[in-house]
Subunit: 398 residues, 2 copies
């Protein structure tokens, strides 16, 4: 299968490329390196130094060396699509940080412009070049927020509304999907994913596109089976903007900084190791939906509260003789700190996803992977400084 | 009350300004004239010549002549906000045409950028300058599409979902509103209104803004009580992009062109005369929500099918001795042509909205208003040429 990865230089893009190549797919990619620029701009770094990946592509058994890094993304994307003629497009080329989008008006505008308009352009280019291709798009579980009710996979189940006239099962089946389950996103970034979902659903309904929209939980870890001998083939962020919570906790652990639990710490989300994310995306790619179908997957291993994650990191640290402290900080975000949370996650399992059932060894592995890089941790990036009400002051412990 | 109208030069903006001034409010406005440019660009015109409105502002009893037309909208908007310090901001400054947004990639990008990012900037500027102000935002009934079920006013009613764990009444009340009722928009333009709704709801939830998001049906007519002696004080579009269906039909009627009903013609929407739109927006302005409240109004008089509207125009024409023909054309849009449609419309009535209960005399009035301008009708703009699958060919009769 010819797979084009947009945003191939990212945390998910590169390991996904290696895995797909390993499975015999023909992979090409596009990236403008803006993720690296943004991390630089906020004064952060990747804990693991990132290799010159291009120089290592010869090891990747890419049949056609079609890997392209473009700084002229918008101008080149349609032309690149035309030259590649992909069967599947994995779209990871978005500004991925919620905290970054909350810094100020220009960061919010940058995030919404790059993500929404970037994706809109891709839809139009696909229409002109490869309308049959399967678009795999990374959304986020954060699109749903914490609505205090069960969270289905993308749509309102046809049997669940009563007391009002409802979409019938027949209607939903003939109209290619039910109504989009209402979203309740918590940042300008998360909202871009909501907007993308609506735009992509429309492209499927109006133009007959096929798409998988992945509501993914926060990913953690640094290696997969394909890159376990070379951690410099991926990147690892641990700051408040680009680092996800488990990665942040692990970076804090290895420099003996208290884990920064935001607020009460009962915030619950669905998490998954990097290798599960790659596994799931590969399943989506290799099992495309039919033409006109807009398909939503909720993608995570299982749910944990922030407090549970802190405990896991603490115990994993203990096994490596790291004494991990946990502290509660003023929550920079406006969010429910105690809430009901029950997202469904059935569709990927039906396709063959076997979740990592115990993340404890994964966290221990991660701590071991990053320990050699402990001198690279920027200590002043460990405490959140961007309040989501956008006052700029560091969170204190509570 | 100090009311700032963004997009004051438009079809709704100018009559609203006159009406608010008449009611004693202090009105200011901002516009960059891009609506006029876009109509020019598509080769269309306003049927009624538009007066140099600025030269007539002396008749408007504006206490402080704060009317500003800016071509540097983005650069000036925050500064303007700061000088005006409005109690209410009516945001009409968006690209308002669905057909325009479907022409091609650049029109789609222009529409989504101007509308979504424009509104996002306004939210940030409000945050910095006047977070207590009431934002009145024009959405569209088209956000909902035709979901084949009842359409509540913005939110899923708390009592309507069963068989799954649901948001409770208590949760909804404490969380400042329920879940946004799922949208099912039918064009890139309509989608911008969906995205705006989600962005604004977030600003209310996260920053404590107060906002009224108006899901308005298509408006028709050219005069209101405030401008009935001077039709050149408003604009009147009748082309496929900027003209709404009743206005299109009336322009076709006065030049003896068959009314262009798209497809079967059972497409049903909620319509309202221009004066009702002004009435409703004034009610929203004068009855602001409380801080933190995101409030949705469905705004229309009542629902009609395209066929019913054509019949009304035909009979109104007959009373003016105009022989009106009706024809069915290939539908340029992808939409359900026969469907269930039952939107609720209670909140405005509770505030005092008295709908025009019979649109027949309104349509007759409209035909009389525009008859003197029949020589200005551009005949080749009467048949839709932009297919929403974006093949460019004129629709034929069916």
């Amino acid at each position: 299968m010819k797979v084009l990865i947009l945003g191939i230089d990212g945390y998910l893009g590169w390991p996904l490329a290696l895995h797909l190549i390993e499975r015999g797919h023909q992979v090409s990619g596009l990236d403008c390196y803006i993720r690296r620029e943004r991390v630089d701009r906020t004064g952060c770094n990747s804990l693991t130094p990132i290799a010159d990946r291009l120089s290592r592509t010869h090891t990747l058994r890419i049949k056609q060396p079609s890997f392209v890094m473009s700084h002229d993304y918008v101008d080149n994307c349609e032309e690149f699509l035309r030259s590649v003629q992909p069967d599947a497009i994995v779209h990871l080329a978005e500004q991925p940080s919620a905290a970054y989008s909350m810094i100020g008006v220009e960061e919010a505008v940058e995030t919404q412009t790059d993500n929404i308009i970037g994706t809109l352009r891709i839809l139009w280019y696909m229409k002109r070049v490869c309308p049959e291709a399967h678009l795999i798009k990374l959304g986020t579980m954060g699109e749903y927020g914490t609505p205090n009710c069960d969270i289905p996979e993308g749509e309102i189940p046809f049997d669940c509304i009563s007391g009002h006239k409802l979409p019938s099962k027949e209607y939903i089946e003939c109209s290619m999907g039910g109504l989009i389950f209402p979203r309740r996103a918590g940042s300008w970034y998360h909202l871009t994913k909501v907007h993308d979902s609506y735009n992509i659903e429309f492209a499927c309904r109006n133009w007959g596109f096929r798409s998988t929209d992945i509501m993914q939980g926060p990913v953690f870890g640094v290696t997969t089976d394909d890159i376990k001998d070379d951690s410099e083939l991926t990147r690892f962020d641990y700051d408040e903007c680009f680092g996800t919570i488990i990665n942040r906790f692990c970076a804090q652990a290895i420099v003996n900084h208290p884990l920064t639990v935001y607020g009460v710490g009962n915030q619950t989300r669905g998490y998954l190791p990097l290798k599960d994310s790659i596994f799931c995306m590969t399943l989506a790619i290799e099992n495309p939906p039919k033409a006109g179908e807009y398909r939503v997957f909720n993608q995570f291993e299982r749910t944990y509260s922030a407090n549970e994650l802190a405990e896991i990191v603490k115990f994993a640290g203990a096994e490596l003789n790291i004494d991990v402290k946990i502290a509660h900080y003023e929550n920079p975000r406006k969010e429910a700190e105690t809430h009901y949370y029950n997202p469904y996650r059935n569709k990927l399992v039906e396709l063959g996803y076997k979740p990592t059932t115990d993340i404890f060894p994964e966290v221990k592995l991660l701590l071991g992977d990053i320990l050699p890089f402990r001198d690279r941790v920027l200590i002043d990036k460990l405490i959140p400084q961007y309040r989501w009400d956008t006052s700029h002051r560091k969170s204190k412990t509570v």
